[in-house]
């Protein structure tokens, strides 16, 4: 059911039409650099996910390799449309977000779980 819900979510987004220029500058630079390498795959969604997971920049946890295949590309598709977070908007720095995130799991023990 959860999977169905997520698939329904991603199917509403025209990710296949994504172009590099739509990406934030840092990521588009990465993608362009990679696309310039003949050994690299073309700049498809899968290729972008590869770049991001390698660099750990978007920290594409949803993008996992499964015997050489991108087994959960739908998770990657979701991630693109969810970049409007505090860090992406520049409201907090990456370091501040990391600190706060860590603090949440140390300081908000009643709901953080284990």
């Amino acid at each position: 059911m959860l999977q169905q819900s997520r698939k329904k979510d991603i199917n509403t987004h025209p990710i296949d039409n994504l172009v590099v220029s739509q990406l934030p500058p840092s990521r588009s630079t990465d993608v362009l650099a990679r696309s310039a390498n003949p050994a690299s795959p073309p700049c498809t969604a899968s290729a972008l996910s590869d770049v991001w997971s390698e660099r750990n920049a978007f920290i594409g946890v949803g993008v996992r390799h499964n015997q050489g295949q991108y087994s959960t590309s739908h998770n990657f598709r979701l991630s693109i449309w969810r970049t409007e977070d505090f860090v992406a908007q520049g409201i907090v720095s990456e370091q501040e977000a990391l600190n706060s995130f860590s603090e949440f799991f140390h300081g908000c023990v009643s709901i953080s779980g284990s």
Binding site: N99, I111, S114
Partner: protein, 149 residues
């Protein structure tokens, strides 16, 4: 270990990168309330983040059934807000409705069935589907517990 009476997260799965890739709402919520834990609820940093977060939360409350907001992550975000809000019951009620929409109440039974089947076949490896069900069960139990408080 501290008392974790409403565990809604798995520290191994709900990591910084994982949460950020899955849901900006949940990510921002954790960051905001992490800032509150670090600097206090009167701190300017928390107040600033909370104000921005409130708009997102309103969108979720007013339009909870859209696919954009749906998902276990939205429920987790609601739980965090509920734990720190005076009218948290309202948010928990919404979380319950979202959980029902996602069939989370069935997750425990499905998980037990799957574990039983796996053990009957003497299989040791936990499947990804089993892990998903475990996470869904955890969130459902957290919502249920909070609703009963």
């Amino acid at each position: 270990m501290e008392d974790r009476f409403v565990p809604a997260f798995c520290t191994e799965y709900d990591t910084y990168g994982s949460v950020r890739s899955r849901s900006s709402l949940l990510f921002d919520t954790i960051v905001a309330f992490g800032a509150r834990a670090a600097k206090g609820h009167l701190s300017s940093s928390f107040q600033r983040l909370h104000t921005k977060l409130r708009e997102r939360l309103c969108n979720l409350v007013l339009d909870p059934m859209t696919s954009r907001h749906g998902g276990v992550e939205a429920i987790q975000a609601l739980l965090i807000h509920a734990c720190y809000a005076e009218d948290g019951w309202l948010l928990v009620s919404l979380a319950i409705r979202l959980a029902i929409k996602l069939n989370l109440p069935d997750s425990l039974e499905d998980l037990l069935r799957m574990v039983t089947r796996r053990k009957s076949h003497n299989l040791q490896n936990i499947t990804e589907q089993e892990q998903d069900l475990f996470r869904a069960t955890r969130v459902w139990c957290a919502v249920f517990n909070l609703e009963q408080m």
